[in-house]
């Protein structure tokens, strides 16, 4: 393929937890298998500028709420560009607690409030203790229905007015009462799913790359690739989950 895909990874030393660099590895691996060149740029310098529109995919991994303020202040200047990025159908993928950065307000356990970028219409309440579990749900991305399986280490409850990303089968949704997981705006996804998400669910990775190819209007689509290992993993973990529910 003649297309090149450009990925920006925002502040990966700040958003450094839960092995989510694996999502970038997954995008690189699948692109390589499809002979699509990929460049990955690490946006780490608060003193340098960042132009969202230069990229096809922007990734923001999970981090700790105490570190968000500085990144929020940096990205605030690019808020309209980021909203435009999402509206154009490009892919902003945000995982874990970092959803708070893109939301409205997070109420912390100590009573303080963190004000986010307000890009997603979501409010958050920090949990007193983390909630860890398998996370399994149905999602629809790029018009494809799919099952998503990952892990969650949920540090906050999410109350969102936006369209959810997934419909829960097992695990905790955005909050204990919710049957939904995450938020989806156009082709951008804000989710608590760890795993890493794109390693465990290459069918989602493939559709993300298909979205990028569609945006570039090259007429290309991702070829079928061997996902047998991940499918075996999915089935094994579904069985494990069923066993848990019976017990």
């Amino acid at each position: 393929m003649n297309t090149q895909i450009r990925i920006a990874v925002l502040f990966h030393n700040t958003f450094y937890i839960h092995g989510d660099r694996g999502n970038i590895l997954a995008l690189q691996k699948m692109s390589k298998a499809a002979n699509i060149p990929v460049t990955v740029e690490y946006i780490d310098d608060f003193a340098s500028s960042f132009e969202p529109d230069e990229y096809d995919i922007i990734f923001c991994g999970p981090g700790e709420i105490s570190c968000f303020a500085r990144v929020r202040d940096y990205l605030a200047a690019k808020k309209e560009e980021l909203k435009g990025f999402i509206e154009k159908g490009k892919v902003l993928l945000v995982t874990g607690t970092t959803m708070c950065l893109f939301g409205n307000e997070t109420l912390r356990c100590d009573g303080s409030k963190f004000t986010g970028l307000g890009i997603i219409n979501s409010n958050f309440t920090e949990r007193e203790y983390p909630y860890g579990n398998d996370l399994y749900y149905k999602a629809k991305y790029n018009e494809k229905e799919m099952e998503i399986f990952g892990s969650q280490i949920q540090m906050m409850d999410v109350i969102s007015e936006d369209k959810p990303f997934g419909k829960l089968i097992y695990g905790m949704g955005n909050s204990k009462e919710s049957e939904f997981e995450g938020v989806q705006l156009n082709n951008s996804v804000f989710t608590n799913t760890l795993g890493p998400l794109l390693v465990l669910n290459p069918w989602l990775t493939k559709e993300i790359l298909n979205v990028v190819l569609t945006n570039k209007a090259t007429g290309e689509i991702m070829p079928d690739l061997d996902m047998s290992l991940e499918l075996k993993s999915l089935e094994a973990k579904k069985k494990f989950t069923e066993k848990k529910q019976v017990e």
Binding site: Y16, P130, E230
Partner: protein
């Protein structure tokens, strides 16, 4: 009155447990006693809080506790401690019950307790130690501890101005406790032959002071090394107060302040335990380094991370990792990768089952760099366990291991594990799995031997 009832009950239970099952003796008496008197730890007498040290952190607590106790005892100091690693309030209570008189009086030179980092504030409320040793604060047991900042926030209120802190100069998060505290003793390790660097694509961590990027000039251990912040002036000191130098893994020696020490365990992460112990025994107990040195030759670590099993002419080296703890996984990977001989690598960390709900997390493996292992001489990889063996195999493939080298079997059956090991040409086998699986393998071998 409830204190005395709790104390005497605890003492009776300790006597019974010693007869029935010594393995339950680390926690049980204290747990039952605390039901009668919930604040009994605060009621023990004759404890000088200036002589009380808590050892907390993610990794290295038990080893540091064991070594400090050993050095102090070799230097004729009496110590009350929870050496068996029961590091919650019942464990501390049990240790005090064992050591006290019938009236709750304690007579010891020092009180040294390994304390779980999440529960330290609870223990502190009853036993306000004036000294804390923080080994490091890293990613660990995320289902329980969330992220390192969660633990940092738990510990911060305890780090008052009158607290003496023993901190790891090379671990950014725990070292930051000393940023605005005057009573600080630092320990560290100089660059050595096993020091390494990592690629830019592997995240480091945020600066605990300004939120910028922490840059490691080199690592001595995962997440530990000489560091500086890319955005502010926060950095590791050039030399810690107690700095380990001239680390010679081959000859098992190191120096501190010009004095030579034997290295009982020549593994990189142990060097920080040695440095921490030297800092504590000198600053807390006045034991000079030259007097501490002889104790190193006789130190035996209880419950370490490495065990060997001989099976059918094969040597199985069990590398114990902590749950969801990338640092211990990386240490194990580094050990395997540095073995230049042909080997088989068995990876069987299964679902996490210690906490409900059990779950299938393997994402911590992506915080680790497997590339050196993938490039080393591995005849075969064997991925096993219920549910997560496929994800383990996938992790290896992501690291560049050819698929044809990987055997994947969804099993925890010990006979199957031994059968696959039997099939390897090499007799050099490394094993990573949860302790209960390894215990099952040991039990099976013992049964076979008896037969």
């Amino acid at each position: 009155m409830s204190f005395y009832i709790a104390l005497w009950l605890g003492k009776i239970l300790n006597i019974i447990i010693n007869v029935v099952d010594k393995n339950r003796g680390t926690n049980f008496a204290g747990k039952q006693a605390l039901k009668i008197c919930g604040n009994m730890v605060s009621k023990f007498k004759d404890i000088d809080f200036d002589k009380v040290l808590f050892i907390t952190g993610t990794n290295g607590k038990s080893t540091s506790n064991n070594l400090i106790n050993h050095i102090l005892k070799c230097n004729n100091k009496t110590v009350v401690s929870n050496l068996e690693g029961a590091n919650l309030l019942p464990g501390v209570a049990t240790a005090l019950i064992k050591a006290s008189s019938l009236t709750g009086k304690l007579k010891a030179d020092y009180f040294i307790f390994e304390t779980d980092e999440r529960f330290l504030p609870i223990i502190y409320r009853q036993l306000p130690a004036k000294n804390i040793l923080i080994t490091n604060l890293q990613k660990d047991q995320v289902q329980r501890n969330g992220d390192p900042d969660f633990i940092f926030r738990k510990l911060k209120p305890v780090m008052g101005k009158d607290m003496r802190l023993f901190i790891n100069n090379n671990e950014p998060r725990s070292a930051s406790f000393g940023y605005d505290n005057k009573r600080v003793v630092t320990y560290g390790v100089s660059k050595h032959g096993e020091s390494f660097v990592k690629g830019e694509d592997i995240p480091t961590m945020p600066c605990p002071i300004c939120g910028g990027s922490i840059i490691f000039d080199y690592y001595n251990n995962d997440g530990v090394g000489a560091f500086h912040c890319a955005d502010c002036d926060y950095q590791s000191r050039e030399r810690a107060d107690y700095q380990i130098d001239n680390v010679d893994f081959e000859n098992r020696k190191f120096t501190c302040d010009g004095i030579s020490f034997d290295m009982p365990y020549n593994i990189p992460y142990m060097c920080y335990n040695y440095a921490a112990a030297l800092a504590v025994v000198k600053e807390l107990a006045g034991v000079d380094l030259v007097d501490a040195a002889p104790a190193f030759a006789s130190f035996k670590n209880v419950g370490g991370r490495y065990e060997v099993l001989e099976y059918n002419g094969k040597t199985i080296k069990y590398m114990r990792i902590k749950q969801e703890n990338p640092e211990t996984v990386q240490s194990a990977i580094n050990v395997m990768a540095s073995d230049e001989t042909a080997k088989m690598v068995c990876l069987g960390p299964g679902p996490l089952i210690d906490i409900v709900p059990n779950y299938t997390n393997t994402f911590y493996t992506f915080d680790c760099d497997f590339s050196k292992l993938a490039c080393s001489d591995v005849e075969k990889y064997f991925c096993f366990s219920e549910a997560v063996c496929y994800d383990m195999a996938n992790r290896l493939i992501y690291a560049g291991v050819p698929e044809e080298k990987i055997v994947v079997i969804e099993t925890d059956d010990v006979d199957t594990i031994f059968d696959v090991i039997d099939g390897a040409k090499t007799d050099n086998v490394y094993l990573i799995t949860w302790l209960h699986t390894f215990e099952g393998m040991k039990k099976k071998l013992k049964l076979k031997e008896r037969q």
